[in-house]
């Protein structure tokens, strides 16, 4: 996404290699090959769900790759005071590190992160994807789900990476179990509150207790069990994935490097959601670049995109379940050690 300086002959070389039969990319990949994606969930213990993702990192001292850390964090909002919305809401933000774009001015960086925030917010925050379990007490309290992503390095294909990281963080997010309580005496709540700092797991710590409006509201909630991380977000299978088709008519290819991004006239971002036992839905779409695209070609591209997105989705899902397993085993081992 960043403007990379490229000479005319480099650009011509990349284009002619992509158009050759069989096509060949600078690093030997096929048109539809992704670079290796590294993924780890649960990287930020202070968040309710988090993930770190890297596309295309080289081994050992090689570095490189597009690297993103995403985290989901829940906050209690008061519906009656007008801060929150009944049923909860989702807010997304993207921060781009100047290290990822060392040649951009800070204004350009702000624009870029605003742009990425908007794509993420419009897609992830769409009502059709809204999780149903963000209500704490109907019409009184609800959760605000903050999804924050930090782009630490950009080696191309940042939008796909962003959505993968977002999906992983949301997949990992746990909503604390709550129990509505009647307001009687302050002591009961005080004693419950004091457990928070002592608890090892700070995930649901401070945000779980918003006692500002205690006096006005007759009913509040408590967390029945501090050791339980809570339940997963409702409909976590639905969170979309993005595939970016880099269009070099008549061909298209996936997972472009910065040099490749600078060499193609058009890019098409497609965000698909795959709900089990329902047809896939196209949640968002964005066409970037100076050229125009035929409607017929667009339809075709969407059909291809759906197919690639499905593959991406399946692979990501497998990896996420692996991560869940890995961390369960790790947690169990640690528990066994403590006893």
């Amino acid at each position: 996404m960043a403007a990379v300086l490229l000479s005319k002959s480099e650009r011509a070389y990349i284009q002619s290699s992509l158009k050759a039969t069989p096509p060949l990319r600078a690093d030997g990949r096929g048109l539809l090959d992704f670079r290796t994606v590294l993924l780890e969930t649960g990287v930020a213990p202070l968040a309710n769900g988090s993930a770190r993702l890297n596309i295309g990192k080289m081994a050992r001292e090689g570095g490189g790759g597009t690297e993103i850390v995403a985290a989901a964090k829940l906050e209690v909002e008061d519906v009656e005071s007008g801060d929150g919305v009944d049923g909860g809401r989702v807010a997304c933000s993207v921060t781009c590190s100047p290290a990822a774009y060392p040649h951009l001015s800070s204004n350009a960086l702000d624009e870029l992160q605003h742009d990425l925030s908007v794509i993420l917010q419009q897609t992830i925050g769409h009502p059709s994807l809204h999780p149903r379990n963000l209500t704490i007490i109907p019409r009184k309290k609800s959760w605000l789900l903050n999804l924050d992503a930090v782009v630490l390095a950009d080696a191309g294909n940042v939008v796909d990476a962003l959505f993968m990281a977002a999906r992983a963080a949301l997949w990992d997010a746990k909503v604390p179990r709550t129990r509505a309580v009647q307001y009687r005496a302050p002591e009961a709540l005080k004693s419950a509150k004091n457990d928070v700092p002592g608890a090892m797991d700070v995930d649901e710590g401070t945000s779980g207790f918003d006692t500002r409006d205690m006096a006005r509201t007759a009913a509040d909630f408590e967390l029945p069990d501090y050791w339980d991380e809570g339940e997963t977000l409702d409909g976590r299978e639905k969170w979309p994935v993005c595939v970016t088709l880099n269009l070099l008519t008549p061909r298209h290819f996936l997972d472009a490097t910065p040099a490749e991004e600078a060499s193609v006239p058009q890019r098409l971002h497609l965000m698909f959601s795959f709900v089990p036992s329902a047809p896939p839905t196209l949640q968002a779409m964005r066409l970037l670049g100076p050229e125009e695209l035929d409607l017929k070609d667009l339809k075709e591209s969407i059909a291809f995109g759906e197919q690639y997105a499905k593959e991406l989705f399946t692979a990501l899902e497998t990896k996420l379940r692996e991560e869940d397993n890995r961390r369960n085993i790790k947690a169990r081992d640690r528990f066994a050690l403590m006893r």
Binding site: P45, L46, G62, G63, G65, E75, S97, A99, P102, V150
Partner: protein, 264 residues
């Protein structure tokens, strides 16, 4: 909220089970990140900071260059999810600008900037997680990142926080402790034992200050050892790889004609 937590109990243990002078675990990762010239990820307990260094390189804005030395540009970003309460800070946030300025002035006398007139050295700090001792973690990571980038320094800069609970000094404070006891941050250069930064935003009795200050300087030496070990380990590994590549067998071959494909 902190009043209910015992900062130091009768057994001499702190809320996280440490002794008075005990430092938290430090882990250091100096491997290459992205396209940076140097980078370091450091964790002090739950506080985690990633620093990437670019440069010395051509200054982005020519008007800001200095004709006799390089400019140190420190930019800091704090991940919104790094704290217990989510808080998104913009890059122009006062607190962040203040911390950046403090870090820049800490390194100003340490980096040999006069070797690179008209250049710029960019230091990008990412706070991934915070649980107290944020400024020391940033300073320590910056030192390491500058070293991995090959930027000449007079010495390491090693920082640590210290606080006083009634009359007992504590080292390497967590957020919980920082909220409750008067504390300060000290950064030292281990070889000369010179201090490049002392900052305190709370009140502390003069007599306690002296004791705590000396203790913090000593702790800086301990942190120096960890940092030095990490740098050495990486240097040994990389130099080893280079040496293996320059072993005699390979060197000899170097002298033959390089145009091997000439016959084609």
């Amino acid at each position: 909220m902190s009043s209910r937590i015992e900062i130091l109990n009768d057994g001499g243990f702190r809320s996280d089970g440490r002794k008075q002078y005990e430092l938290r675990d430090i882990t250091i990762d100096l491997s290459q990140q992205g396209t940076a010239d140097g980078s370091a990820m450091i964790t002090h307990g739950l506080t985690q900071v990633l620093v990437t260094v670019f440069g010395p390189r051509e200054a982005k804005m020519r008007s800001q260059t200095l004709h006799d030395r390089a400019v140190l540009n420190v930019e800091m970003s704090v991940a919104p999810f790094s704290t217990g309460d989510r808080r998104k800070r913009s890059r122009a946030d006062r607190r962040i600008l203040e911390l950046s300025a403090m870090i820049a002035s800490t390194f100003e006398p340490v980096v040999q900037t006069t070797l690179y007139p008209r250049s710029q050295i960019d230091i990008y700090i990412h706070v991934i997680q915070q649980d107290g001792s944020l400024l020391p973690a940033c300073i320590n990571a910056t030192t390491l990142a500058l070293i991995t980038a090959g930027v000449p320094l007079h010495d390491f800069v090693c920082a640590v926080t210290g606080g006083v609970h009634s009359t007992s000094p504590l080292l390497d404070l967590t957020t919980l402790e920082e909220n409750d006891v008067p504390h300060m941050t000290v950064a030292v250069m281990p070889r000369t034992r010179k201090v490049t930064l002392v900052t305190m935003e709370t009140r502390l009795h003069v007599e306690r200050f002296r004791e705590l200050f000396e203790l913090a300087c000593e702790a800086g030496q301990t942190i120096h050892k960890e940092m030095k070990a990490a740098v050495k380990e990486r240097t040994v590994a990389l130099v080893g790889a280079i040496d293996a590549g320059s072993k005699p067998g390979v060197v000899d071959e170097r002298d033959r004609d390089v145009f091997m494909g000439e016959s084609i």
